[in-house]
């Protein structure tokens, strides 16, 4: 199912039912993710924001998975490297910039780290920095769907390879399997958990092989191929929505940048290694594929990129111009009412 543009002819483009418009939308999400991400790093290096995290190399899996998400119905419980997934289900670049700048109008009102989004409107659960902490929430949301007798809805939850070593990962996958919950576990295996390589994370390199031990289906997909990711996640989501139970999908991708602006990956891996993997960079690969298959022409690609940059610039300016939260906001939303531990 993997797409290798140079090896395939035009006729062999396996669309999995995706229209030209959807294919272009996927590419646009990928371009937007990369541009916004670079914006975060730029703003950090300019001294305008203290922190940004990176997701370069995850564009294909996230744009593809987002296309399999039904807006207004499904629930997304992501982790902090899911910029493209959040964009793909409807978060705007402006909302992303509000998060980067920690403005009052941000969904967390400037409380959370960048890229820790939440949007009730989109069904996007609030994100924790704690690895695997989101998985019990995701399973709980799936349990709520099942308990309420809702059909046609499912939960998509994501995590990196490092999260699979956490106890909460195990407990969540097992619980979902026991109760046949409507949930898809999508592992974005980028081979690095900050500085821990996959070989020090697992005794064997394939996360999907754990599925059998839990009694749920598992599959692996080329995470550099957005169409394959869409197809795999889409099939799993459809299975979940129709009461067929959970699935574990592993998408093999790669983390091209450091973990965050606070990390220097040269202390634990060589630039050569990263450079060698750049040949699989999903953004130019998918762009080339769509041009080769005449879904887009070169001018259209340029226009797309220009549009993405303009939108990013506009979002940056607008978000930067917004106000920080008030100091008094520190005391808001501790409880439904009041923040003090004493009642008087």
């Amino acid at each position: 199912m993997a797409i290798k543009p140079e090896a395939q002819s035009k006729v062999s483009l396996e669309r999995h039912g995706l229209t030209d418009e959807q294919l272009v939308a996927i590419l646009r999400t990928m371009l937007m993710q990369r541009t916004l991400e670079n914006r975060g790093f730029q703003l950090n290096r300019q001294g305008k924001i203290p922190f940004a995290s990176a997701s370069e190399g995850h564009e294909a899996v996230q744009a593809g998975a987002a296309m399999a998400f039904e807006r207004g119905k499904d629930i997304l419980v992501p982790y902090y490297r899911d910029l493209g997934l959040a964009l793909g289900i409807g978060l705007t670049p402006y909302e992303v910039l509000l998060s980067l700048f920690a403005r009052a109008a941000d969904h967390s009102a400037g409380r959370q780290f960048p890229h820790h989004y939440a949007s009730r409107r989109l069904g996007l659960h609030t994100i924790s920095s704690i690895i695997a902490a989101q998985l019990p929430h995701a399973v709980g949301a799936a349990f709520a769907l099942q308990y309420s007798g809702e059909t046609g809805r499912a939960v998509l939850t994501t995590f990196g390879d490092g999260a699979t070593s956490e106890g909460e990962w195990h407990e969540s996958v097992n619980f979902a399997a026991v109760h046949t919950l409507p949930i898809v576990f999508l592992c974005e295996n980028n081979e690095w958990a900050i500085s821990t390589p996959l070989s020090k994370q697992m005794g064997q390199p394939d996360v999907f092989k754990r599925a059998e031990g839990y009694g749920l289906p598992g599959g692996v997909v080329d995470g550099m191929d957005p169409i394959a990711c869409y197809a795999a996640v889409g099939a799993a989501m459809q299975r979940a929505r129709s009461g067929g139970g959970p699935t574990l999908v592993e998408a093999k991708c790669y983390r091209f940048l450091s973990h965050t602006t606070d990390d220097d990956d040269r202390t634990y891996r060589s630039p050569d290694e990263v450079q060698a993997r750049r040949k699989d960079d999903p953004v130019p690969c998918f762009e080339r594929l769509l041009v080769e298959r005449a879904v887009l022409n070169a001018e259209q690609v340029e226009a797309l990129k220009r549009g993405v940059l303009e939108e990013t610039n506009d979002a940056t300016d607008r978000a930067e111009a917004m106000a920080y939260p008030d100091a008094a906001d520190l005391y808001e939303k501790v409880y439904a009412e009041g923040w003090e531990p004493w009642t008087v």
Binding site: I75, D106, H107, S108, A109, R111, Q112, H116, A118, S119, R120, H125, T126, S128, I130, A133, P136, H137, G140, A141, F143, A144, L145, Y147, S148, G167, E168, E332, K333, V334, Y335, A336, G338, W339, E340, P341, W342, T343, V344
Partner: protein
Amino acid sequence: MAMEGLRPIAEIQFADFIYPSFNQIVGEAAKIRYRSNGEYTCPLVIRTPYGGGVRGALSHSVSIEALFYHVPGLKIVAPSFPDDVKGLLNAAIDDPDPVLFLEHKKTYRLIKGEVPDGHYTIPLGKANVRKAGTQLTVVSYGLYLHWALEAAQRLQEENVSVEVIDLRSIRPMDKTAILTSVQKTRKLLIVHEDNKFGGIGAEISAMVAEEALFSLDSPIRRLCGPDVPSMGYALPLEEEFMSSPAEMADAMRAMVKF
């Protein structure tokens, strides 16, 4: 489940087994509202039997409240009477925030009382003066509240008047009830089974010292569990850990005489 509109009531048997879920309770549930600026909430109730005196040894006897009462975003309730349990549990279920609902396991079979029919709630954060008195304020909750009441009753027969406050809620905690009582009796004894160091009594002591130091006629005293990991299984170890109505009565007499 709570974040998607349900009102789950989890039970963790026993409180000693709650530690693996510490991250989800402290790091997640208590912060969901805050970190999403109110877009998401976590109205979850966690019932858990705590406390000792039942030959529960090291892993079925622990009081956990001090490990959790430090946590903003979390509420903690520790009712001691059957009617309060019903009213406070209903209130905890209705509450829009996560509530840790502590049930002292020895009181399950020990304490009997009338429970009103029908639905009713008792507000969280409101203490209850279980016995009125004038010479000493005793603040307690859980099993020890019953023993403190028993001790106070004994002292009544000696014409010593002790006021006993049933805290009911640990967070939020009823400041007014404590201060009103202390300003009347001018003496404060806090009694709890949990370890003394950094326990609930430490916070109450500090609050009263900050707000009503000059109303006091004697130093504040705490009668609490000793600072050892838990009570042992062997009877003498459990008895040594646990206080008794007689010890409480002695402490009350000493304070009244001060």
